[in-house]
């Protein structure tokens, strides 16, 4: 079993009297890729900033490779990389000059630094922009540069705050592959994102946050499975469109939650098969022309919606 790379214990961050993060604990080992989900203001960015030592904490502790991030910042700097949501760079430098400077800060020998710069520029589709000034880069290019800056020193723990924001569809696909490769290299990666479908694809763990607290935490399967422990979403296809289908469904069960889109209805009901069969029978009795009725596989989106947050920003 690989060693613990990142440990967050009872983390609490307050801004005055406002509690931004409250009692958050988790640890990560090599090969873990944690996706953080939550609405704006849930405390994701604060958690990531605290985890890398940029945000002073009120209580708790954060350790990277066993080093406390606030007591041993220089040691932690050797092992940790962070990509903020707003990419930071010197506007007047070229892409290569900027990465050269970053390598210099980490004490990389010039030849090794040049090799790594070539590698990351190629991996992030920035090779053509190597001589361009940072100020001439688009938002997406800057985001790639920020990722290159984070990965250049080859950190063991990688924290990324909404790294896919600003990337085009091709960039997102490429970025997913990059994260998967970092995970496979044995790094501990934390990514905050609003794109739940992406997270489900490459994350090993998921943390759902609201108002500074963790409301769901576990592997992707555990979180998605926990969401559908008692209830389930069903997909209903009608043989033909019926105008009063909503009224008929409401008459069956006042608490029934459903959404009608043309001849397709998505509804939530008890997971138990007998209950589902009973519902189906009552729908047919009520004259609803059911052509197809099947339960949907649990997913992160569902888990998120069921966690009580109600919306994705």
């Amino acid at each position: 079993m690989s060693e613990t790379l990142l440990t967050i214990e009872d983390l609490r961050v307050q801004y005055g009297r406002f509690v931004a993060v409250d009692g958050l604990s988790f640890e990560m080992r090599g090969g873990d890729l944690l996706g953080m989900i939550g609405p704006n203001g849930a405390g994701k960015t604060t958690t990531l900033r605290a985890a890398c030592g940029l945000q002073p904490i009120t209580a708790g502790s954060v350790r990277v490779m066993g080093y406390d991030v606030f007591k041993h910042p220089t040691e932690v700097g050797q092992h940790l990389g962070f990509t903020p949501d707003e990419p930071a760079a010197y506007e007047t430098l070229t892409v290569t000059e900027f990465l050269d400077f970053i390598g210099d800060c980490y004490g990389l020998p010039p030849s090794a630094c040049a090799e790594r710069i070539d590698h990351w520029l190629a991996a992030l589709w920035l090779t053509e922009k190597r001589a361009s000034k940072v100020r001439s880069l688009s938002r997406g290019m800057r985001q790639r540069l920020a990722v290159a800056r984070t990965l250049l020193p080859d950190p063991h723990v990688v924290l990324m705050d909404e790294p896919a924001a600003g990337l085009d569809p091709g960039g997102r696909v490429q970025f997913r592959q990059l994260l998967a490769s970092l995970r496979d290299q044995g790094k501990a990666v934390v990514v905050s994102s609003h794109i739940l479908a992406d997270l489900a694809e490459y994350c090993t763990h998921v943390l759902i946050m609201e108002r500074g607290r963790a409301i769901r935490y576990g592997t992707v399967d555990q979180v998605a499975g926990a969401a559908s422990h008692e209830h389930c979403r069903y997909r209903l296809v009608l043989a033909h469109t019926t105008g009063d289908v909503a009224n008929r469904l409401e008459s069956l069960d006042e608490g029934l939650q459903f959404a009608v889109a043309g001849d397709v209805i998505t509804l939530e009901y008890e997971r138990e098969r007998a209950a589902a069969a009973d519902l189906l029978a009552r729908m047919i009795t009520a004259g609803i022309p059911v052509a197809e009725f099947r339960p949907l596989e649990p997913d992160l989106e569902e888990a998120y919606l069921r966690s009580g947050i109600g919306q994705v920003d």
Binding site: L11, R17, G23, G53, P56, G77, A89, E97, F101, H205
Partner: protein, 514 residues
Amino acid sequence: MLALLRLHLKMAGGPFGILVIPGICVVGAALIAFMSFRAVPPSDYPSVSSTWLAIMTIGGGGVLLLLVPNTLASAVSRDFKCGMIHSHRLTPMSSVQIILGYLAGAPGQMLMLYVGTLILGTYFAASSSIPLTVGIVVGGWWSMQVCLMLLALMLSSFILATSIASGGKSQGFGILFVVALGAGWLMVMFVPGLALILGVLGGQVFLGVMRMGGLTGNGIIIATGALFHVTLAILFIEAASRRLRAPDRPLLNIPSSLIFCLIWLAALILGMHFTFRYSLTGPPDDSQHLVQVIASVAVFMLVGQTVLVAAAAVIAGTDEARAIGVPYSHNQRAIARLMPLCVGLMAAVTLFTLYDLTPPQLQTAPFRETSRSIWRMGAMGLALLASAVLDGSWIYIARLRGKSVVWAIGLSTTLLKILPLLAEAAEAIADEVVRGDNTSVARTYMPGLVAGASPIGTMMAFNMKDGHPWPGLIIQVALAIVAVALACRVRGAFVPASRQITPPSASAPPRLSA
């Protein structure tokens, strides 16, 4: 540190870029100087050299004292805006390396410009007609430049520390800085110790050179001032480094602020000592001396606020820890709570030492009477103690309520230290007017009755004929007690005894990777 040095070199356009602008300036100045030499007969060369020496001195001083600190402030501001300051914090560079990188790298071009003035100045000093009593003229020029460099180091460290503390919000800071420096120099006649801190020596040595032979007897003052500048520079660099990684803490922590106060205490006392011995501010009369003593103590009280701010942060931090049920250092809290007393005692020590230093010819009758009465001296000490306790409680309340500490200090200084003095001045003027009218409502002005509510007023009243400091002193002690009670009440609201503390671990999610 070298990474940041190389970065700033690159951002200034590389070695060529960093040299080209200073080079053009220096070559331009040299050309104009050459033409001015050509325009006069050889017998006038020494006087032309003297003029150019003055120009180089002013130019070099301007670059070192104004441009270098402002360049630093701009660099920090730029890095806060583009987020690179946080990027530096994430690297394995230590905080001190980052700060030194800024200090040495950001003003590189300006330093090159200064080196240009240094080279030209050395030439003009060697060919100038100004006789100096200390060494040869080049030695005098160089000693002045060393003073300027040390002063610039201190000011640059200070600007760097404050820029980092303010999150790079330093727009208009340069102007403020120039005004403060100018006002500081003007204040030297009232607070002689400022000469050792604000670097008036640089100016004085300069004036000494211009006056021909003004360096006499100033060697010890120069050395003392230089020592203060270096010590303060180290203190500011250390403070900036700490603040870089702990933006929620005050710029100076308790040990640093205590050292800061001790440096000021020594400077205020030594400044007064040098005034008597070397006539630093000219020969004072007894009234000017009294103003110097009181103003020096008032300045110390202002400097002492740094300790109170650091202590308030520690106490508020432990309150916060207690409120959420996490362990905190009881010793640290106890030490922090003692700080107002410590500041009050240090202010009293400053006052008593300055009294002790006063030569007999400058002692007025009330001054003599006070200095011989243990009660009067004790009462002045009590006023300073009460003032420190009041300020400490006030700053703590502001901190706990999330208000600006600077604003709180400004308000308490204005309302409780300055306003009573102004009110008494107004009363004295009104009394004068009434008495001048010869009306029946004429009354006798009672010095110190109102001003005594301020510690400055108490000190003044004890040294005035027929002064009435006691009522004001009672008000001060009462205000201090009220402030302490208020602080306790605010703290009680922040940390309610009945509050249920839920240990954070009770609600923590499972550790999945275990």
